[in-house]
Amino acid sequence: MTIAPPMPPTDARRAFFDARRAFEAVNLSVRIGSLTLANPVMPASGCFGPALGRLIPVAELGAVVTKTVFGTPRGGNAAHRLTELRAGMVNSVGIPSRGAAGYLAAQHPLYLALGVPVIVSVGGHRPGEYAPVVRGLRGAGDAYELNVSCPNLDRHGTDIGSDPDAIGTVVQAVRRETDKPLIVKLPVLVSSIADCAQAAEAAGADAVCVANSIPALPLTADTRSPVLGNVIGGLSGPNIRPVVLRLVWLAARAVDIPVIACGGIETADDALDYFSVGARAVQVGTASFGRPFAMVEIIRALQERCEGAAAADIAELIELWRA
């Protein structure tokens, strides 16, 4: 009952695919521990899937990041799982997961086929839950991002990532499982982002990602009941950028390992804001929903900006403004 044979992509999308060009004089590569990425732009965990490869040239990305994988299967939260407020989008997906084994069987092959480094996001609800997940991944993935912005069931009501000691415990345990680069993804609501980043560094992390979404409580306008099945969700999108920008600035001053910025990035300008306060790579989340090609646009624009300013890399571009 197909109505007509599939047509070639329409002009807008095809033109975008065709627009890739080489920038010989520009080097956007970045090192995360032993891993070198061709450029510093990657998706934020939970905001990417191999399905996007049908819409954009994923091979242009610096890396891809998986949705957070937990050790055992989880169904995720009740509906609604997301909504949009003037302040931004709010999600409470609750991280459904098929567990490490399910990820390996059903999803990792799709990620591998994309042809760029795969960073597997790993979650847990107790500090002791992370290392077993990494073990269960049996070496799959080029790096691991430890999502510690999860409520710590051992310490009711606080996130693992808001407690420097718990961060240290998690990183040390995972370090014993793997030599691959470890990125610790920190929450926003912490008493001291510098303490948290330093705890990650001291325990052997190769980078920190700053930051996850900001916990929020959206209510319906009429009955003032919670919009989300889980009551609480994470606020993301451009309005959190000024808050995360400060956290990235503080983290970058506190540690020597790279800081990967994540929060409200929509354009190359937004990415450059983060680079200018010390970030070495960026993740794009919410922006990809409305504009699936946002990451690729950002990479191309960064290359063009460098080329236009005759800067060899982003650090030089930033120095040129400062001069």
């Binding site: 109505i3 992509p9 807008a12 399905a51 997301l82 989008m89 099945g229 919410t286 929903f289 409305g290």
Partner: protein, 277 residues
């Protein structure tokens, strides 16, 4: 049936007009989507950032009509919250970023030949739509016209002025049963009676429904009575439309360790069966 690959397109807005009292109609130029979309599939429409209100998430919208010869699709939407209110400001001649076609659409039991255990190939179909839910079923009305399937379409709404799809059905040669709240004809019991009478002895081969939970329930009851398959199109809040954000899991009671089906890729059209008991 193989699903077409989704694309995104900067679709030119050819028509943007008021329909009835509460809706707007968009005609969008996108040759690929118009040519490939299956009945019951949907688009994600990005509200342009240039407009005053910044809308971050694209809005899922059913493809109401496909015009492959013109390379256009039609969407009808109701002005509900921030997203659709901002959409109103898009002018004719501007472009909208749309991604599609997306999701699993409606499918008639195969007319080419049944397998022994399956339902009989569709020769007649009952379609039920309410409000903007009518848009989800109109693609199937188009398919029915093309395939020579006899389509009876219940169009439900608050009032005559607010019924979507009458002209489309007339054009496509479908039999329309308009029911409205203001004269009571849309009331569930009345509608059930009427349909049972209408199809007494000769039930339709399939029922397709979209637009209100109670109508889906009625359709499932009729399907059980008549022994015919029922397909229902569901809604869920969505972000990606492609199955990766996990925002749209259907609110079906399940094992806490197992996620409900994703409305964007496992649906929006699902087989409707009455819960046992």
């Amino acid at each position: 049936m193989p699903r077409p690959d989704p694309v995104w397109d900067d679709a030119a807005v050819l028509v943007h007009e008021v329909v009835g009292e509460r809706y707007r109609r968009l005609v969008l130029a996108s040759a690929t989507i118009a040519t490939t979309a299956l009945a019951g599939q949907f688009l994600m429409i990005t509200v342009p950032p240039a407009l005053g209100e910044r809308i971050l998430l694209p809005r899922p919208m059913a493809i109401h009509r496909r015009h492959p010869e013109q390379g256009t699709v039609e969407v009808i939407y109701g002005v509900a919250g921030r997203g659709t209110t901002a959409l109103v400001d898009v002018g004719v001649g501007e472009r909208l970023l749309v991604t599609g076609p997306l999701g699993r659409g409606f499918e008639f039991p195969d007319a080419a030949g049944p397998d022994a255990a399956g339902p009989r190939p569709a020769r007649t179909a009952l379609m039920i739509g309410r409000g903007v839910g009518v848009c989800a079923i109109m693609g199937s009305v188009e398919d029915a016209a093309r395939l020579g399937i006899d389509a009876t379409v219940v169009l439900s709404g608050r009032s005559r002025a607010n019924l979507i799809g009458s002209a489309d059905c007339a054009e496509l040669g479908a039999t329309v049963i308009p029911v409205t709240d203001d004269d009571g004809s849309s009331a569930l019991a009345a509608l059930g009676e009427r349909l049972r009478g209408l199809f007494a002895g000769a039930p339709p081969d399939v029922i397709l429904v979209c637009g209100a939970g109670v109508l889906a329930r009625l359709a499932a009851e009729l399907g059980a009575e008549w022994g015919v398959p029922v397909q229902v199109s569901l809604e869920a809040h969505m972000a990606c439309g492609l199955g990766y954000c996990h925002g749209c899991a259907a609110p079906v009671a399940t094992d806490p360790a197992v996620e409900g089906p994703l409305v964007c890729v496992d649906g929006p059209v699902f087989d409707a069966v009455l819960p046992a008991g």
